[in-house]
């Protein structure tokens, strides 16, 4: 199949790649661009492990075709830390032990970032609602919710 040239802004960097139309954004990020932070959990939109921001909006990268991102902006978990240090969410996830196996963590971090970008001081209910599209088989969610609340507090 004909490969298509795509130009996009990924984690702040202008990026060009070739892909087949059938390749998802998740496949291209992981297999072509070697940004393996986003994970494949379910590959059908249910688990959120593949979460990235597309033009600032939270999406499941497994449910986006890579060709669709032509001219657009993508942020992945790799873009959260800066040379100065980890993002407050990343720090709080470690402090609060909000992860065990870690497979769901990049998705939760990106989803939580989308939440805090929009609502810097969410209620617990808002956090739980916003993260309903992210599944975790290990933590039981409580520590994740607490870490997000702590990150919101620490950046206030």
């Amino acid at each position: 199949m004909r490969k298509i040239h795509v130009h996009a802004q990924i984690n702040g960097l202008p990026t060009d790649f070739l892909c087949e139309p059938r390749q998802s954004l998740l496949e291209v990020l992981r297999d072509e661009l070697r940004l393996t932070g986003a994970k494949e959990g379910c590959n059908n939109g249910n688990c959120g492990a593949c979460n990235v921001l597309l033009d600032g909006r939270l999406v499941n990268a497994c449910c986006v075709l890579a060709v669709e991102i032509e001219g657009r902006t993508v942020e992945t978990v790799e873009g959260m830390a800066t040379p100065q240090g980890l993002h407050p969410l990343q720090r709080c996830f470690m402090q609060d032990a909000a992860l065990q196996c870690g497979i769901c963590t990049p998705g939760f971090l990106v989803a939580a970032k989308a939440l805090l970008d929009r609502f810097p001081h969410p209620s617990e209910q808002q956090v739980r609602h916003y993260l309903a599209g992210n599944l975790c088989r290990c933590t039981g969610y409580d520590k994740i919710v607490r870490a997000v609340m702590d990150a919101a507090e620490s950046s206030s």
């Binding site: 059938r22 597309l54 939270l58 499941n60 449910c63 986006v64 060709v67 989803a111 599209g133």
Partner: protein, 291 residues
């Protein structure tokens, strides 16, 4: 995933030409939350995927106090509920677009896609029915308009003919003292498919004691979402007491044709129709009184 080609036309006529050329082999892509998963799982296939998100008409979301709402078929859910002008006027639709999937799904999923996918459990369809939405369809022979309750003809089947695209929905300005609500039952709090759903809309008289208009629609209890005109009719112009509400709920239950499946038995679904229509009516009435 099987191979396919991709096109992202910038005009409706370009898109229609692509569909005409490729016939059954082409599939329209909006938010992809149904289509991409179905292609991957081999539940449908295509040689060409036509992304319609760059077509201006399909992205339009505009409220006009005289003509009502035009909701482009590819507009994602979040744009609808984040628009205050629309949120206040079309509460039944807002209930549905804020409950589809999670935030990630709402960033992409469109009402047009929900409609064209034609699931019996599609959450936006009962509220669209009670809001009296009309589908605007473009095809090789020009445009036509069809009331939304006639759009789905079976699970996964719509009245769209080969080469046709759903351009958007026209939703009239609600009458004064209007309220609507959509409720569904799912075993979890979020992220699940309706076992049953019910939408109710009412328009009250000037002293807010009686219904001048009422509409009831159901999901997941028949091969297609269902308008139950008789259930709305029993509310019109009579006193709004418990008896009228029971009669409305019973009429809706009688119209439902539920099946047994892994999500619930037919008996349970019929029971849910009674509970959900009553609750949705109460919500709709409360919203009408506030409006």
């Amino acid at each position: 995933m099987k191979e396919f080609d991709y096109a992202a036309p910038r005009t409706l006529s370009e898109a229609l030409a692509l569909l005409a050329e490729n016939g059954e082999r082409a599939r329209v892509l909006a938010g992809g939350t149904d289509l991409i998963v179905q292609l991957r799982e081999g539940r449908c296939d295509a040689d060409l995927v036509v992304d319609v998100k760059r077509i201006p008409e399909l992205n339009e979301l505009a409220f006009d106090p005289a003509k009502g709402l035009f909701l482009g078929a590819a507009v994602p859910c979040y744009r609808i509920y984040e628009n205050a002008e629309i949120a206040g006027r079309y509460p039944g639709l807002i209930d549905a677009v804020s409950m589809i999937g999670g935030i990630q799904i709402q960033s992409r999923a469109s009402v047009g896609g929900n409609l064209c996918n034609a699931s019996p459990a599609a959450d936006t369809i009962p509220p669209l029915i009670v809001h009296r939405a009309v589908c605007v369809i473009a095809g090789p022979k020009g445009q036509r308009e069809v009331p939304v309750e006639q759009f789905c003809v079976g699970p996964g089947k719509t009245i769209l003919r080969a080469g046709e695209i759903l351009v958007g929905l026209k939703i009239p300005v609600p009458p004064p003292r209007f309220g609507a609500s959509y409720l569904r039952f799912i075993p979890r709090n979020e992220m699940d498919i309706a076992v049953a759903g019910a939408a109710v809309a009412v328009a009250l008289n000037a002293d807010k004691t009686r219904c001048e208009g009422a509409r009831v629609a159901l999901s997941a209890v028949a091969p297609t979402p269902l308008l139950v005109s008789e259930a709305g009719d029993v509310l019109i112009n009579g006193p709004l007491n418990e008896k009228a509400m029971d009669q409305m709920a019973q009429t809706a239950q009688q119209a439902a044709k539920p099946i047994d499946d892994m999500r619930g038995t037919a008996e349970f679904r019929r029971h849910l129709v009674g509970v959900l229509t009553r609750r949705a009516l109460r919500n709709a009435l409360a919203r009408a009184v506030e409006s």
